[in-house]
């Protein structure tokens, strides 16, 4: 029993889960029961996958010990590239593939530059944040193209599906990707290498793990997920905006951190990152429904980030300090 309690106290996502339950209850009361209504859930679950996908990638990368601040810009650049290619007559599938390949290149560059020149990824990806954003504007030529929705199998990505049309197809994509990432991190040897690389690099190297390749792979996954999420948003809105995803990088880091991911790597879980992203969406949505001035949103996210990190480290220490009798 105590062992179970100790294990759960050391779960990185515990504090965020508790906060999530608390906030859902509070908003449900403040919004007079509208928060958990079908109409609101439908809207909420329609938007949530976009941010949660970005947070999933950022969480994986942070567990591997690196940062990616360029995800917000990649979020805009991928669909912009795809849309521009489509206006030039490319069919959907090749255009999407080209967009995703661009994300692979950006992720690779982020990782390769960071490792080759031994500079902090904070800097590499900060540079990439500006460059990718600038490229987005350049590619769009100043006039964002309209997506020809007829040429896109939107039903595969954004149509409402399932019983009662509660979720969009994007939610299913998100679910599948999140499960895959959770599986990759938790159950495979690659996941073990990611944790070891982020947890203590010299040990991972001494044990013969190809840490550079592991990191570059994590950078690529992070970029691709950000681009994919951006594409889903553009399909939902119908037009790619050069300003899409601005500030998303910091929200994604906040989501990962709220969900228990350590800034120093090694600690965290995909589930935690997702719970962090859901929390941020819940606050956004809940504040509006509770008729609180929307300007308080960022304040709430900021306070939550600090609170969650303090809560996490407190719970973890309590868990570690907990003695279990020998048998």
């Amino acid at each position: 029993m105590r062992r179970l309690l100790k294990r759960s106290l050391q779960k990185p996502e515990l504090a965020a889960t508790l906060l999530l339950i608390l906030l859902v209850v509070v908003f449900q009361i403040l919004s007079n029961g509208f928060f958990l209504s079908e109409a609101n859930l439908r809207g909420f679950l329609g938007l949530m996958p976009e941010m949660a996908l970005v947070a999933t990638g950022v969480t994986l990368l942070m567990i591997c010990g690196e940062f990616d601040l360029s995800v917000g810009s990649v979020f805009a650049l991928m669909p912009m590239t795809m849309a521009v290619l489509m206006t030039q007559g490319w069919p959907f599938l090749p255009a999407m593939t080209a967009g995703l390949l661009l994300c692979v290149v950006i992720g690779f560059l982020n990782g390769w530059l960071t490792i080759r020149f031994a500079i902090p990824s904070f800097i590499t990806t900060l540079g990439m944040l500006f460059m990718a954003r600038s490229l987005t504007v350049v590619v769009s030529g100043g006039f964002p193209p309209r997506l020809n929705m007829e040429a896109i199998p939107a039903s595969l990505f954004v149509a409402f599906v399932g019983p009662g049309s509660l979720v969009r197809a994007s939610f299913l994509w998100f679910l599948a990707i999140a499960l895959l990432m959770g599986f990759l991190l938790g159950r495979t040897n690659f996941g073990n290498w990611v944790r070891a690389t982020g947890g203590f690099l010299p040990a991972a190297q001494a044990m013969g793990i190809p840490t550079a390749r592991v990191k570059i792979t994590a950078f690529i996954i992070c970029s691709v997920l950000a681009g994919f999420a951006g594409m889903i948003q553009v399909m939902r809105l119908g037009s790619p905006l050069p300003s899409a995803g601005e500030g998303l990088e910091l929200q994604a880091v906040a989501a990962a951190v709220i969900g228990g991911t350590s800034l120093w790597g090694g600690i965290g879980s995909i589930l935690g990152g997702i719970i962090g992203a859901v929390l941020i969406r819940v606050i956004d949505n809940g504040l509006v429904l509770s008729q609180v001035d929307g300007s308080w949103f960022k304040f709430a996210i900021g306070a939550l980030t600090i609170l969650a990190v303090i809560g996490n480290s407190w719970l973890r220490k309590r868990g570690q300090a907990m003695k279990i009798s020998e048998h």
């Binding site: 159950r187 040897n189 073990n192 290498w193 944790r195 070891a196 203590f200 044990m207 793990i209 090694g266």
Partner: protein, 250 residues
């Protein structure tokens, strides 16, 4: 020690004429060393004497600029620590052989995870086997830890060294290189590590013990090799030398 007629078997590691330069510094100046199976060799020397350079060559971290390393008589070229590990040479560094944020079971198998199903190098971890065998491996070195799911960060320094040694033995390492294993350990834990080292020779495992602390080396090793200025300056059975002798040559 070359050509010693009493050494009937081939040395487990044989280094010959090793030279290494680091950015203009001649760190190793023709080091030759034969290490017999089951030997507990203490490698001593001041900072910059070349101990670490020699070890980094034997553990596959660096390649020598000239000279040859043979493992059980076969010349080898190691391109990384993994090659050394595959040859049965495992190095336990003072701090960096364990990931504190991971469990004991996960740490024991880093880079050598047993897989239930695989595609190429990648696959699904056999976690049940990892947990069961890590418990057994740790018990084999006389260490009793409450659970394979405890984080390594929660263990004491001595326990960590014990887990690292258990890991090396589990993977049937023939040669164990211990780099300053007793630094920052309490007296009691140091005794435990020295006891580990002594039990290694009994099991036929060769051990290279690097330390600043001559007492620890004499307590655990049967042969002492001292280095200074990139060369071996003393190589004797532990019974035929003393910490005082060594102080004078260093």
């Amino acid at each position: 020690m070359d050509g010693n007629p009493t050494a009937a078997a081939t040395p487990v590691i044989s280094a010959h004429g090793l030279h290494k330069w680091y950015s203009g510094v001649h760190a190793l100046r023709g080091v030759s060393l034969d290490i017999r199976q089951g030997e507990a060799l203490g490698l001593v020397g001041d900072n910059g004497a070349g101990k670490s350079t020699l070890i980094s060559i034997l553990s596959g971290l660096h390649a020598p600029d000239s000279g040859e390393v043979r493992v059980e008589g076969r010349p080898v070229r190691m391109r990384g620590p993994r090659d050394a590990m595959d040859l049965g040479i495992e190095t336990i560094y003072q701090y960096n052989s364990m990931v504190p944020t991971m469990t004991i079971a996960r740490n024991l198998f880093i880079g050598r995870e047993p897989l239930k199903a695989r595609i190429g190098r990648f696959g699904i971890l056999d976690e049940r086997r990892m947990r069961a065998e890590s418990v057994a491996a740790i018990a084999d070195v006389g260490l009793h830890l409450r659970s394979p799911d405890a984080l390594v960060g929660e263990l004491s320094g001595g326990q960590r060294q014990g887990v690292a040694i258990a890991r090396a033995l589990y993977f049937k390492s023939k040669v164990l290189i211990l780099d300053e294993p007793t630094n920052h350990l309490s007296v009691k834990e140091t005794a435990k590590v020295i006891q580990f080292v002594r039990s290694l020779s009994a099991q036929g495992v060769t051990c290279i013990f690097i330390s600043h602390n001559l007492q620890h080396v004499f307590a655990s090793c049967d042969r002492i090799v001292a280095m200074a200025h990139g060369e071996i300056v003393l190589d004797r059975p532990a019974g035929e030398t003393s910490p005082e002798d060594i102080q004078t040559v260093l």
